[in-house]
Symmetry: C2
Subunit: 455 residues, 2 copies
């Protein structure tokens, strides 16, 4: 079958290789017996990904409109195009699948085509459409692999957002050598994160040349997006690590209730909210870069940390200890200095035995007042990945934060937390990544990363 299929346009381009197992000759015979080969050339095969990219290039949202027969419900759609990428200030969806990719090509042209193909696909996926916009799970073309893997057919767009970022390793290799002629455009702030005290990072859960964050109301929608982008990337990029997050641990809109993390505490009470535009502008969006780094204006930095919680240990601590560590009341989320959830903590307020909020509590050490006012837009997720072989759940927080500059808005904060935070006793950082998220697509014919790759 492969031998036949490889002659079709759009299939060889898709990187088809012989499947494992059966002998090609037997498989060709099998398909032939089904009478499928008789339709060769009769279907609408085409170079589908290229075609989709062209559709994007036509510059109209209407280019994504489906044929009536394959229309997904036009509900729960987050606009993909805009000055900034979606999935940052978008109200945090409940589910996430994030993947980091290693770029396996050495060709800048291939990298450009990958970003074009991904941008096109994200445009379709964001509208709840199959990749390519066709019937997705089927159609009539029996001789080509379906353009879309199909498992999201019948689901809504689920408020899917797909957010793409670039790692430092995309610009320079481990020896500092320029990989794609992009080294001069490497923003200074895209550093190698330092080793923080207590880090137990696993190489296989860290780094990556490109990150893709898919968030949606429905996990099947998020997984479908990552899986199809992975598929499109075949031969150009391969998945380095991926992580499912089952429940959001931050609100990015004042309209959202504050969710709880696996410590059982409300998380993200003091998060940057989309409604505070001036705060977002100051602390999230990159601006004012000049010269060869100017391409990144309108983007942001994305920090990812896989933070395993030693939940079995945590669960054995008494409520007083738990609240002491966090600095907030477990039930209400109010700071221990009093008030309700959104009351500003009063670190000076004392009880009979000293400050009501411990100086080494998490809320005290991470508070902007300790960090020249620096704030992060957090967008993390609870995760559970089976067990560790010692009868303990491998569970915790997949931390994601978007910041204007990690040198001022992440590294000093994490350093202080890693050194002093009482919470460190209950967490282990097992994965880490830093990526620069390019600006969004705000004009027809563009694609994610164009300002970097063609600027």
């Amino acid at each position: 079958m492969h031998d036949d299929a490889a002659h079709l346009p759009g299939v060889a381009d898709d990187g088809a290789v012989p499947q494992e197992g059966a002998a090609p000759s037997a498989r060709a015979a099998r398909v032939s017996r089904r009478g499928l080969l008789g339709t060769l050339g009769g279907g609408a095969v085409g170079a589908v990904l290229g075609g989709a990219a062209v559709a994007l290039g036509r510059g109209s949202a209407a280019a994504f409109e489906p044929a009536a027969s394959s229309a997904a419900p036009a509900t729960a759609i987050v606009e993909f195009m805009g000055e900034h990428q979606a999935g940052i200030v978008t109200p945090a969806q409940d589910r996430m699948h994030v993947a980091a990719f290693d770029v396996t090509t050495t060709s800048l042209d291939d990298l450009v085509s990958l970003m074009k193909d991904w941008s096109s696909a994200i445009g379709f996926l964001s509208r709840g459409l199959p990749v390519g916009g066709s019937a997705g799970a089927g159609g009539d073309d029996l001789l080509s692999p379906p353009e879309d893997t199909g498992e999201a057919v019948g689901l809504t767009a689920g408020n899917l957002t797909v957010t793409v970022g670039f790692g430092r390793s995309l610009f320079v290799d481990a020896e500092g050598k320029d990989r794609f002629g992009l080294k001069s455009k490497l923003p200074e702030a895209l550093i190698d994160l330092p080793h923080f005290p207590g880090d137990q990072l696993e190489e296989a859960r860290s780094g990556g040349d490109i990150v893709v964050q898919a968030c949606a109301d429905d996990p099947q929608v998020a997984v479908h997006a990552i899986r199809n982008l992975s598929r499109i990337g075949f031969g150009r990029a391969s998945v380095r690590w991926s992580q499912i997050g089952f429940g959001r641990t931050a609100s990015t809109s004042k309209a959202q209730a504050t969710p709880r993390n696996l410590f059982g505490f409300k998380d993200g009470t003091a998060n940057v909210k989309a409604e505070d535009a001036s705060v977002v502008d100051e602390h999230v969006w990159i601006s004012g870069l000049e010269g060869e780094s100017a391409w990144a204006n309108g983007g942001s930095f994305m920090v990812t940390r896989r933070i395993r919680m030693t939940i079995e240990t945590w669960d054995r601590q008494n409520l007083g200890e738990q609240q002491l560590v966090v600095g907030r009341a477990k039930a209400s989320g109010a700071p221990l200095s009093g008030g309700e959830e959104f009351t500003e903590p009063d670190f000076a307020k004392k009880g009979a035995d000293g400050p009501l909020i411990d100086v080494n509590s998490h809320v005290a050490l991470s508070h902007p007042s300790r960090h020249s006012g620096a704030q992060m837009l957090r967008r993390g997720y609870n995760y559970t990945d089976g067990t560790d072989g010692l009868g303990r759940l491998d569970a915790g927080l997949f931390f994601i934060a978007f910041v204007v500059d990690p040198r001022t808005h992440y590294v000093p904060i994490q350093n202080l937390i890693s050194k002093q935070d009482l919470m460190q006793e209950y967490v282990r950082h097992t994965g880490s990544g830093l990526f620069i998220v390019p600006p969004g697509i705000n004009m027809a014919g563009s694609y994610l990363g164009k300002s970097l790759l063609e600027g």
Copy 2:
């Protein structure tokens, strides 16, 4: 802190051990400084799990009613008590967390107390209440670990069902020795599953003395249940493996639309549906056992198989091949012999080149007509667990089926599939389990497994 806490009733019973890291003396000093020790004895500490079990024993659903101040919304509740356990014919919820436990105690009394404690906790959790029924995430007792870990506070019950089953290894050890005096009650059908052709089972994903399946609309609710039961089990049972499933792949009610698996095909079209009571009675519920196995009547057998799909290979196959393998049309789910999704397959119907449905397609080999009419109630879930180190997503189907007898309703079917099914080229079985699910709690004062443990 531990030294102090250990003197409290309900805490030592909970298996508290010194936490990692800090020295007990330093921690005691820390808590003391917060002025918490002054409340010792003043709180409503109590032996909470035992108390909850007593509440169940009072025999009234009202025993689970919360105090007004901590009431979770009384919505989305599946009744926990009944002739059969919930979570089998319950309309399949969208999300799942399942865990298998190794029993670490050698005491039958401990095993009994574990099942009592779990039954009590499941009663609370099924009503959307924190374990113990108290405020859960807080309350006023600063000196005890909260009875509930808290991350589901504010969520509904999410239609949570928790279903418990026993593995053969609970009855006899690897040498066939009686572990808890239950060997004579081991039902004949609770066999060691044979090795099926192509099996690539991983020990760390297989087996287990007890299985706990938590299904809910919200994954945070399902994870919360497993986590709290794991916690309650400390010192008596430890997690052997656990698996998150993000999307259901079967319908168990005619009111549910058929979902899609990660092959992109509708899955479970021909599943046993709860509405067909006589089919369920014949193919799902154990009945008619006599003598020492009679305790199992009203129960069922649960088969679990972690089936990794080689989705990258699958995704490169053309639509014709994919449909040939499954025996159904990808878009509609209709059998290739024609009709629509729920049309019965016609295996005799021929086209120009032979049967329209290949004799080695999945639908042909798994059809009840090949297996003396045997049907399974399937309740599987799509999963994605990161990557495999080769840039491929570790994704597939966590297969769950409930059957009246695995010797007639699973083994022969899997044997045929493993030997001949075209689909085998695209899957690898990496985990396996067989458990007997005892009947439900249909009277006050009972608990899951009582008919086995006390019968």
